[in-house]
Symmetry: C2
Subunit: 338 residues, 2 copies
């Protein structure tokens, strides 16, 4: 049995296709109740669903949103970003079309061409971690940048408020009474996340009347191994210079800090307090003890991006900062030796 078309419904209801279209799209002002009823019955009976391809051709609106991402594969956060984007799309009766480019400019150009050939109503250009991107040439003007920003400010953009998030993290340590708070940083200066978090660390210490000890600031590779090396160095300092707390660039490095502490015979949080960043699924909550960290608002950012793309929300500024949330678990305690 072939799929029902609008003509089938029209015939079954004994009206014209124009009337069916009107009724089924709710613009039934001019149609009598009785006719409307007949149309609905016929449509239901035939199991009619409009062909959105045909509709798209006619209206030039496909109720479809394209999402271009750099590397979905390797990150644990992508999922929440997509979920947010998808939910917002769905609530507004749109579908999400996904293309993943592996950071290959050629693929990216293809992706843009493919989406524009699909007549998508909007496109979201997403990075899997907060970075400054070179927006590809052909990106439609009404696109939105998700978890990234352009140099030029050419498109509305949403990123986490790294600075404010890091302030929460460091402040939690200060509030617990720590004075020697180290920062285990990410090596490489190109990440906005890295320098914003670092700046927050400095500012909180300063505004709390603590002094910045540069020996307590060590950068290493972003990994458990990097965090472990950095923390081991910190813990090898002579007792009175040694930190009583470390703020880590992210949860993976915090995991390394746990390992270093254990190997130094220290217990967390009794001998060393640790705060991470990211609230990485299946990591932060499952460490021993569970890690106090800062949650990135990926889901909300995903939502925001499609709401802006759909014109349901107007960004007040080029780059919108979305708040991060402190997730308090068990890795922070007052210093044992004040």
């Amino acid at each position: 049995m072939r799929r029902a078309r609008i003509a089938d419904v029209a015939e079954a209801a004994g009206v014209s296709t124009a009337t069916v279209s009107l009724v089924l799209n709710g613009r039934s002002v001019r149609v009598s109740d009785e006719t409307r009823e007949r149309v609905h019955q016929a449509a239901a009976h035939l199991g009619y669903t409009p062909n959105t391809v045909a509709r798209g051709l006619r209206t030039q609106l496909t109720r479809t949103i394209g999402l271009i991402s750099d590397e979905i594969a390797t990150t644990p956060f992508a999922g929440r970003m997509f979920a947010g984007a998808q939910d917002a799309a769905r609530e507004n009766s749109h579908l999400l079309i996904m293309v993943n480019t592996d950071n290959d400019p050629a693929v990216e150009a293809d992706a843009i061409a493919a989406l524009s050939a699909q007549q998508v109503d909007a496109v979201i250009y997403a990075a899997m971690w907060h970075r400054v991107v070179e927006v590809p040439a052909g990106l439609p003007a009404n696109s939105v940048l998700l978890d990234c920003r352009s140099e030029s400010g050419s498109h509305p953009s949403i990123v986490p408020d790294e600075y404010a998030g890091a302030v929460l993290a460091v402040q939690a340590l200060v509030d617990a009474g720590h004075q020697r708070i180290a920062y285990v940083d990410a090596a490489g200066d190109d990440l906005p996340a890295a320098w914003l978090r670092r700046e927050a660390w400095r500012d909180v210490l300063l505004s709390s009347g603590l002094r910045i000890d540069e020996t307590l600031h060590i950068a290493d590779e972003i990994s458990s191994a990097g965090g472990r090396r950095a923390t081991a160095t910190l813990l090898a300092l002579e007792p009175q210079r040694r930190p009583t707390a470390v703020f880590c660039f992210n949860d993976r490095m915090a995991l390394g800090a746990y390992i270093a502490a254990r190997h130094a015979g220290l217990s967390i949080p009794r001998d060393l307090s640790v705060v991470g960043f990211d609230d990485q699924p299946f990591v932060a909550a499952e460490l021993d003890p569970p890690l106090t960290t800062v949650a990135l608002p990926h889901y909300e950012m995903g939502r925001w991006s499609v709401e802006v793309a759909l014109g349901l929300r107007t960004p007040e500024s080029d780059v919108h900062l979305m708040a991060c949330r402190l997730v308090t678990r068990d890795s922070v305690a007052p210093p044992s030796v004040p």
Copy 2:
């Protein structure tokens, strides 16, 4: 400047739209080289890209694949499955349309309707972990099940070969010389992954001439806490009954085993060998010591599903099992007390 249509190209090249269509679709058998050249030039000059919506309406093929997933948000593996599906789709010039249902049957019905209204060429029905699903009524006949199977065998289906994977894991422990090998199991009997892995544990012990000691089989909640509890119980056994190795249902439970071992003052792998399952990103490789585990073939499964959906590959059986790979790291050593 309006987007170029085929008519614009035709006019610019001084030919008919039919000729342009023929040339641009490579079916240029009947066209003279000179004309073909002119058409290509004109198209390039106008920056023409075909409108796939119009083409889809005409050909009834949208070069688009729908992917319905239950809960992308919460799992670290979804990404690799999507990446595989996406890459395969892209290689065959298709786009992936994603809908995520949160396991809500109403949303699921909507999703199916939406995809069918979009005239997708194929649909993939994906679960985020291997399970037996009730296939929703309206799912098109030519759909493919990804990381799940139906009771009825109504659709081709791809799942990991859990049994063979678990055999690799347990065999690695046997090969290292262990005789008392525990299984930290997942509580709840409804997961195919759980009973297949358990069965493999039994079979390998038996075929290796070892006896099954039921006190070495403990099931608990699937989490770090569950793994920790189960392992703690195991380690509290009197020395000669205590396991020298544990095979864990998954990496999260293995993480719990690490914690339990540490709290018992045991060192991995010297005093206790551990093998996990999943090769969970950012977990397995970053533990101390890095965890030997079994990698699930999510990427390959994603690829397979669209290749079958596109008819590029014919499944030999209802349920296709895809091989898992043992990832050898540093959590296995010979038993210290043989």
